[in-house]
Amino acid sequence: MISRGKEHAAERDALQSTDAELMRQLEAGQVGALGELYDRYRAPLRSFIARATGDAHDVDDLVHATFLAAAKSAQRYDGRASCRPWLIGIAAQLLRRRRRAVGRFATVLAALQGTLQPASDPRPALQARSDVERALAALSEPKRITLLMAEVEGLSCDEIARALEIPVGTVWTRLHAARRELRQAVDIEGAGTP
């Protein structure tokens, strides 16, 4: 029984295509390869985007956009064993463009109304979250994305700088500020809650 179980596990492992193989198939236009990648990385990617945006209403659209952008640039995949950091980098770029677009829209709206309103206030949606999640959501989006990429996704500062198209010094600055704010917020909120 044990040997048969091992045999099946080995068979499954052998049949499991590597990410690099899937990317090659994706480059050739195979729909099944995209489905396989989606099954592997939808959950972590969705979690990253949801946390980075404060669980915005268009999380699923951003997940889709990330996979489609990955499929479009599959020929540029560098062949690393896991494409998760690569997908996270693409998602971060999309979030950056989205933030700029939202910022421009807010500016136009403010000009029309004669007053500048903050883009959004995520606090009401965060009541049920943990202290850390609440503190994370209170960070600015650039700091939040940088912190998640470094501490959760394990990207190096150089990788983050390339993905976000910013100097590596800016990454260090954002990380330092994000950690400081997070620690302060958690300590304050931790002391204030029973």
Binding site: E11, L34, D55, V132, E151
Partner: protein, 364 residues
């Protein structure tokens, strides 16, 4: 009063990879001896661990995930096929084309009106104008024929070279080039193919992609810019990399196919999903991958069986539609008479499936 250390900032610098080898080593020694820095390092690690802990992000139910998956694959599929042009676009393009041709005609006439009789250079390629949407340029020595059926445009190339352009936005008819030693299926749009002495000698793709299926070899997908020519050694399987030089077609001895069919991708397991011993927990992902692996390696019969078994065992799996479609392709590659029935099954099961247009095209 809080204890402090002048090297406290190096804790974060070390964590972020800002310290070089010697600096990092020196700081690690310091960290082992300094309680303040060690506490700071633990605090930063605690922040990281708190962030990595499972979150309460709403994931959506299984049905939602399946719907999103289907939506993604449909969007990707749509991105592979050029969007059909509107009537206005077609009219505008046709008018622009007519205007351009008229202008060029006038220009050519003006240039050629001076010499008494313009003559074509000897040996220039003979042009055969085929009905739209397929344009075929054949060289003067090409021996070929063409048969157009309801759903299939079949070109038989015995020898010589053809340059073919297909406009899939006008017709959904499938185009197949029958070669002396295999066949070439167009996925769109412009490609060149030549054959000599009973063997295919060269395929180049300018736009779109084609699938080259030579006897005894696995199917080979060639994208835009790729070229194929026979390998120098008979036993070497063809590669999809662009060939830097074109081998002269006629003086070459015909490449003999390898004695045993060469396979680029071999499935690591010989067991078909249907033949597997029954397990307490069925694994649809593994079964799908097994069938897909057979499909990719050119074992169409095993792929068709695998996808059929998958469909019967997991009819509600999110990959079922992919399996149904891939089964049709596998049967079609085999030349199986069951292809038509499989296509009808697909349309019955997925009347709004994202491969509907292609499957309907197969039935026409």
């Amino acid at each position: 009063m809080k204890a402090s250390c002048p090297r406290l900032f190096e804790v974060e610098a070390s964590r972020d990879g800002r310290l070089t080898g010697a600096e990092a080593a020196r700081f690690q020694s310091h960290l082992a001896a300094c309680a303040v820095c060690a506490r700071e390092a633990r605090a930063l690690q605690a922040v990281a661990e708190a962030l990595r802990s499972p979150t309460m992000v709403a994931e959506g139910d299984e049905l939602h995930v399946r719907r999103e998956r289907t939506r993604l694959l449909a969007a990707f599929d749509a991105s592979l096929v050029p969007a059909p042009r509107s009537r206005a676009q077609l009219w505008f393009r046709s008018a622009a084309g007519v205007a351009l041709v008229s202008l060029l005609g006038a220009l050519v006439f003006a240039l050629w009106s001076a010499p008494p009789a313009p003559s074509r250079a000897p040996g220039a390629a003979a042009l055969t104008k085929a009905p739209e949407p397929v344009t075929i340029h054949a060289d003067s020595s090409a021996r070929w024929s063409r048969r157009v059926d309801a759903g299939l445009d079949q070109i038989v190339l015995e020898s010589g070279a053809l340059s073919i352009r297909v406009d899939h936005s006008v017709s959904e008819r499938r185009l197949l080039v029958i070669l002396p030693d295999g066949e070439l299926e167009d996925i769109g749009t412009t490609f060149f193919v030549s054959a000599e002495a009973g063997h295919t000698t060269r395929v180049t793709v300018q736009e779109g992609s084609v699938v080259l299926r030579l006897h005894g070899l696995p199917p080979l997908a060639l994208g835009a810019g790729a070229a194929w020519s026979p390998p120098p050694l008979p036993s070497t399987p063809p590669l999809s990399t662009p060939a830097p030089s074109t081998p002269p077609p006629s003086p070459l001895a015909p490449p003999t196919p390898p004695p045993a069919p060469a396979r680029r991708i071999k499935p690591t397991s010989t067991a078909t999903p249907a033949a597997r011993p029954s397990t307490p927990a069925p694994d649809p992902a593994a079964d799908f991958r097994a069938a897909l692996s057979a499909f990719n390696s050119g074992d169409s019969a095993r792929a068709a069986d695998g996808f059929a078994a998958f469909l019967s065992r997991y009819p509600r799996d999110p990959r079922a539609e992919d399996a149904a479609y891939l089964r049709i392709l596998a049967l079609q590659r085999e030349g199986s008479p069951a292809t038509q029935q499989a296509a009808r099954d697909y349309l019955g099961r997925y009347p709004r499936g994202f491969r509907r247009a292609e499957v309907e095209g197969l039935l026409r």
